[in-house]
Amino acid sequence: MGVADRLERLINLVIALRETRVPLRAAEIRERVAGYGQPDPDTFRRMFERDKADLRQLGVPVETAPIDRWGDQVGYRIDPRRYDLPPLALAPDELAALALAVEATGLGDVGSVALRKLEVDAGQPGIWRRAGGRPRGFEVALDEPHRDVLATAQVTRTAVRFTYRPARAEPAERTVEPHGLVHRRGVWYLVGRDRAREARRAFRLDRIEGAVREVGGPRGYPVPETPVGVDDVVPEAPAEVATAVVAASPEVAWQVARRARGAGEADGDWTVFTVPVGDPTQFCEWLREHGPEVEVRAPAELRSKLVASLQELLAQVEDIAGGGRP
């Protein structure tokens, strides 16, 4: 059978199911809808099952409904109210910006069809194509396995189960009611209620092992009262334990200035800054990364902590370097 025949049959099926007053039984569909003229009931069944599945995959709401009072017989229909896109009437600048965003995020596979629907809704199909071609200039990496599955689960309020591998513990199975998804610093997180722990937790998507399975159906838990935001995945900021006096060479002073309080004071061609210290270990990492271009002058403990870590590192690498040079 040709592609055109199959397309015609699918379109005719959509029209028939949409326009019927009462749900149509399979036998009625076989008799009435053009393209199903099949003498063999099994062949018809296979065709119809496949068509139904394909339409549902596109998002056509093919419903099954009882047609007698006892529910012994079922029929099929499409509720026009569930088929029709409600008006959104996006403005041309909103459509153009969305087209850029879809392109930038590489979500065109699903996004371009979706965008086309909104363009037609606004009476502006292909608006960006007519305005000068593919929008460019941005690339945002948002890909992550499980992202779409979890986003859909959150919207439909479907609980999920997966194996989670925390940073410092053995992998374990978790059952979670998704409250939201957060992307921060290049990492996707699921925020949701962990059923076993009876509390809200954040899970890194890249630490989910294997598949995400749905547990129970949609609307499986109440709408969470607390909204989800970036703060849900920001580790609690370490309380500021001290301030440090950091001198920076002209080479890196502009980078140190980003963390500093105030503009700093000149010391020759170096600049001396006051910099708040949160976690001293991370602070030392940051200082070491700048090598000889920065010097911490106070407090004394931080200074000796840094010197000690550098001496330890030096001892370590001198072993290797010495071994490599006879």
């Binding site: 009476g123 941005f138 992307h183 921060r184 590192l313």
Partner: protein, 316 residues
């Protein structure tokens, strides 16, 4: 989720095209082809097959009427296809993701329209499923204050001048023909043709010390720009490090070739680098949490940096 077949893609296009055609009697066939990104022949086929579709009975008054006269198209008698098919949850979530991602970047002309579009999509999803979609995307990273100015230079195709401190600690001033801005792995990058290096280069925005417009016109960017991640080239040295638990984040952060358990609770990681000076800075940063296993040359460079740094503390 499986991808729709070519047939279903075509059905999808027909279902979204018909509502617009019903609204635009006599529209030019080339305009339709351009707006829906379909070639003329396939479009004529679509119109032809629509003429065989309609209400059961399929008599005179039941079929969709399509006509093509000269260069003009008309579709009638398809009131049931007056509206496009509703967005699926997945489609609405996809558009929302895109809108939230770019809409959260401050200072872009697109920010406000994207925020409005995201709100409309959230209302739609809320009506659909009750809970609405709760997606927060934060692309903030050090140096992102340069994004609006660079976006403008890309848009107007103008060369920019950067004073740039690269990962190996060297500062240079260079002219760059800007192609694209990329947010990858928690950092923003400018990708473009570097006139100093004579080839394509990626620049992390937090390493840009100064940014100036030059007003010079730049060439058009290439069709395909590979993402700004390190791709090992032939001859790039391998680096082997033993990481303490506190430094394990390197495994998730860098492009690593191999990971295996090492002595004590350390992890041995093998990665390649285009530049041993970059690797030396990273080891220096990790301090005693990383031990260099190979190559000896890396140990030498780390040693030099550590000694130079310690020297500063001895003097003062």
């Amino acid at each position: 989720m499986t991808r729709p077949t070519a047939t279903l893609r075509r059905l999808e296009r027909i279902l979204v095209m018909v509502p617009w055609l019903l609204d635009q009697p006599g529209v030019g066939i080339d305009e339709v082809a351009e707006r829906f990104d379909v070639d003329r022949e396939e479009l004529l086929d679509d119109l032809d097959l629509l003429g065989y579709c309609g209400l059961p009975g399929y008599g005179g008054g039941d079929l969709i009427e399509t006509s093509v006269f000269g260069d003009q198209v008309e579709v009638r008698m398809a009131h049931y296809f007056k509206r496009p098919l509703r967005l699926s949850v997945r489609e609405a979530v996809t558009l929302l993701l895109a809108a939230r991602a770019l809409g959260g970047v401050e200072g872009l002309p697109e920010s406000a329209p994207l925020t409005r579009a995201a709100e409309a999509l959230e209302r739609l999803l809320g009506a659909e499923a009750g809970a609405g979609a709760r997606i927060a995307i934060d692309l903030a990273a050090a140096g992102d204050e340069h994004v609006p100015e660079l976006r403008d230079a890309i848009h107007r195709r103008r060369v920019v001048r950067l004073t740039y401190r690269s990962g190996d600690g060297r500062t240079t001033t260079r002219e760059v023909e800007p192609w694209t801005l990329a947010a990858v792995g928690g950092a923003w990058y400018l990708q473009g043709h570097c006139r100093l290096a004579g080839g394509p280069r990626d620049f992390r925005l937090d390493r840009i010390r100064e940014l100036d417009a030059t007003g010079q016109a730049a060439d058009a960017p290439p069709e395909v720009i590979p993402p700004p991640v390190y791709r090992p080239a032939h001859g790039d040295p391998s680096v082997v490090l033993d990481l303490a638990p506190a430094a394990r984040w390197v495994i998730e952060w860098a492009v690593v070739d191999a990971v295996e358990p090492a002595r004590d609770d350390r992890t041995r990681v093998t990665l390649r680098t285009a530049d041993l000076d970059w690797a030396a800075r990273m080891v220096l940063r990790l301090g005693a949490d990383a031990a260099v296993v190979a190559p000896a040359e890396l140990a030498v460079r780390v040693g030099e940096l550590a000694r130079a740094t310690l020297e500063r503390y001895r003097r003062s």
